[in-house]
């Protein structure tokens, strides 16, 4: 190839702390006038890599070349200097400003601040590529798709020739996605280079010219889209199977413990997060839940736990004591408990939801039980004994029971949380990403605990991200994709590739993945980084 490349990455490595390697010796090239898709599981380092091109992170090793010349991109400003613009997953817009005001915000080109001229240029760019944008409309009046348009025009206005889009379709309806793709194709014809991060296989196949696949932070292959198949991409994405040797017993005395019927959940923005979900968990089995992060796993578990209001459907719990059915719909966590439902929940956000970071171990142990008794005072003796029991039996490393949990390591925090939830003697146990960020020993402690629960007849719902673990630990795997269930498979027979396919299959009717609108952009950003970093941690331990 004698044509110069628009962008080239050579041997890029990025570490977070000493243990986490987000990107490992990545090479990547982007041609003029092409759409390159970046494909990879959660935590495979896609966003980190793109952030390095956009000047948000700086690589620890390696070099970046733009138009064949070595450059240093230390800030988003530098990135714009090299005509690189990134459209982040979480928009960075000022709500009370108009689209034009947001677009010109922060530009220092020495010219007079002229909103009229700017609005005219915005309209010009829009008509050139076929955007629909109202230069005078305020951001808070806009739909998610309109906001995204503003973000794209913002980088075009700054003269970007290389555009990076981080999961742009995650927040769009199929119609909006089709529109976006039409615009992207027009930009490509105009000679712009576009990098698009996505999980959705059919989108990769329909929009991209080439695909680069990342796995555990490394580039495992770049292929021409027209020469590849979905199967090949899935295989590259999920990687080779690893044997973990988790002990798995056959389920005994199984009977349906928790049945979910036609569950649908639409959030305040009108986006469907769960779409007509039905399944049953049996006592004495582990039901694995697989899916790309943000496919509705969190909402599903929270709906069962009484933390999410849902529009449609039923959740039926069969009480093991008397075989009576209890409907958990529209019940608060307290009401659920008072109905005699023994439901334990290990949420994804350990220190932000499951525990209180600044409280000591004893106070965290009594989160569930402090209401007991009629006294107006709390009794700290039972939680102290519980804390000591958990510390001894799960080998929690801590200076004492009065240590704030934020000072403990991730594995110890998780042992305390799981220990507390198990101490209630659950009939249904839900665990969301219980081994994320944990070292290998702590991970196995958790797997063993889940297995023990299963053997004692508990119905276990295990939401995981590592397919190897899901395949080894679960009895059945339920795959959730865009808020829909795309399959329930026998974990003993299914292959990783099959699960991967179900995770990324086209679910046209499901419009969107959830948007975390309650978070501020900054928080969302760090949350995203933490998520990526955290899951890498887990993977690098294997």
């Amino acid at each position: 190839m004698n044509e110069t490349l628009a962008l080239e990455l050579k041997h890029i490595t990025k570490r977070f702390g000493t243990k986490v390697v987000a990107n490992k010796d990545v090479n990547l090239d982007v041609r003029h006038g092409e759409i390159l898709a970046i494909l990879g599981e959660n935590g495979s380092g896609k966003t980190t890599l793109m952030n390095m091109i956009a000047g948000i992170y700086f690589p620890d090793e390696g070099e970046i070349l733009v138009e064949g010349e070595k450059v240093s991109i230390a800030s988003p400003k530098d990135a714009f200097k090299y005509r690189i613009g990134m459209i982040h997953q979480h928009f960075k817009l000022v709500d009370v400003f108009t689209s034009t005001e947001n677009i010109v915000l922060g530009i220092e080109d020495g010219n007079k601040y002229d909103l009229k001229a700017a609005a005219a240029r915005v309209s010009e760019i829009s008509s050139k590529y076929g955007f629909e944008i109202d230069p005078e409309k305020k951001i808070y009046e806009m739909s998610v798709s309109e906001k995204q348009t503003v973000e794209i025009v913002k980088v075009l206005y700054r003269g970007a020739d290389i555009l990076i889009l981080d999961e742009p379709t995650a927040v769009l309806t199929p119609q909006e996605t089709a529109k976006l793709f039409a615009v992207l194709r027009r930009m490509k014809e105009d000679g712009k280079s576009i990098i698009i991060i996505t999980h959705k296989m059919h989108e990769v196949l329909s929009i991209s010219d080439r695909v680069t696949i990342l796995h555990k932070g490394a580039n495992v292959g770049t292929v021409e889209t027209k020469n590849t198949t979905e199967a090949e991409l899935t295989e590259l994405m999920v990687g080779k199977k690893i044997a973990l040797n988790i002990e798995r017993s056959e389920p005994l005395n199984i009977c349906d413990r928790l049945t979910v019927k036609d569950l649908s959940l639409v959030n305040k923005e009108g986006i469907t997060l769960l779409d007509n979900i039905s399944f049953a968990v049996k006592a004495g089995e582990i039901l694995g839940v697989a899916g790309i992060a943000g496919s509705g796993q969190r909402e599903l578990l929270e709906a069962i736990a009484g933390l999410q209001h849902f529009q449609n459907g039923e959740i039926i719990y069969k009480n093991p004591k008397n075989d009576k059915d209890v409907n958990l719909r529209d019940k608060s966590p307290i009401q659920i408990r008072d109905l005699g439902v023994r439901l334990s929940f290990v949420p994804e956000d350990r220190l932000g939801m499951g525990l209180v970071a600044n409280m000591d171990i004893v106070d965290n142990m009594m989160l569930r039980s402090y209401r007991k008794g009629k006294s107006v005072f709390v009794d700290r003796l039972p939680p102290k004994e519980l804390a000591e029991r958990i510390i001894a039996s799960l080998e929690v490393v801590t200076p004492g029971t009065s240590t704030p949990v934020r000072r403990l390591s991730g594995g110890n925090v998780q042992k305390l949380l799981v220990g507390r939830e198990l101490s209630a003697g659950p009939a249904v146990l839900m665990a969301a990403y219980p081994v994320r960020g944990l070292d290998i020993n702590s991970s196995y402690t958790i797997y063993n605990l889940l297995n023990e629960q299963k053997r004692s007849g508990v119905a276990v719902i295990f939401v995981g991200e590592d397919l190897d673990v899901l395949l080894e630990l679960s009895d059945r795997i339920m795959v959730i994709n865009g808020g829909k269930i795309t399959g329930v498979v026998d974990a003993r027979k299914v292959t990783k590739e099959e699960v991967g396919k179900l995770m990324t299959a086209d679910v046209t009717a499901a419009p969107a993945e959830p948007v975390e609108t309650t978070e501020t952009t900054e928080n969302a950003e760090t949350a995203e980084i933490a998520r990526e970093g955290g899951s890498n941690d887990e993977k690098s331990e294997e």
Partner: protein, 391 residues
Amino acid sequence: MKNPKNKEQNAEVREPLIHITKRDMSTVKRSITVRAIAILAALVLAGIATMLLTKNNPIKVYASFFEGAFGSSTQVWSTMKNLALLLGISLAITPAYRMRFWNTGAEGQVLIGCLATAFMMWKFNTSIESGSMPEWLLILLMLVVAVVSGIIWGVIPAIFKAQWGTNETLFTLMMNYVAIQLIEYFLKVADRSGSNTVGPTILRHGWLPEFGISRYLIGIIVVALLTVFMYIYLRYSKHGYEIAVVGESENTARYIGISVKKVIIRTMALSGALCGLMGFLIVAGNTHSIDPDLVAGRGFTAIMVSWLAKFNPLYMLLTSFLLVFLSQGATEVSTSFGLNDDYSEIVTGIILFFIIGCEFFLNYEVHINRSRLAAIFGRKPAADEAEKEAE
């Protein structure tokens, strides 16, 4: 992330000269030492300022400080009274602050308690004098109405916060001005002469009885009991535990089924009630008069008291005493040395600056990069980067 700028010129990342990290927790010994050093440094600096600005002997000035707070039995009682007032209001706002509800409306909540008390005194003056109502009933009525008004003033912003997520800092702040205007209105109605205060000649009845040595004693006892109550309430009660959980993480509260709305409203009701009670004590026990400046900014000073004590009622005894001592002493110094108020404010300012500033050294560790320091002064780089703690 290290600063990646100027990456082109040199490959190694330039270490900053001063590097600040958060400390996990300070030992008791350390926190006492740091605070003692801070107070000492403040006294030295204030002494130097005194010498330079006023040419007075700083030792004599400091002696006069003590004189102001403890010089005579009147001054001791005055110190105790002010201490009780400030501590009481600080205790009242503390549960809300523990919940991370930034109540800046204590001033108004106390004032509305004062107004309610004064209003009842004014309203029933004649009933007492005609003998149709016993004195104790009036006092009880004053107390109840004051507490209820305080609750209303506290709960309104709490409801808006719980229901619609309004900003409580602004909301409670605005409520202060409403309370002040209501008092202004009351002054016009109760005293047609247009005086800017309504005093004991109009508020003739409903005075709290004097126990023994001082009329301030009853207020002091109430606040002492309140301190113990608040300590136990926050530390050992289920409510206190819920307040802590909501304050630390609303998500966790939701997860374990605490109704965040209920806790916010309940806690602000308690805060408001105690503020109302303080208002009652001020008017019925101390002043027997009312004017819009009656609380004298204690509603705001209380925030400092509570915060400096890390919201621990027992520590608040110390922090409120410190602030009261400073203001009493500074006033005395101003009068006995013929200095104006500005001087006492300078001294108070210097001392508070050091006391609040030293928190930084308790919460953060300062590392100075020795090799960079050496490079700046042109010496040979010393051994490894070592930690040097300032102060």
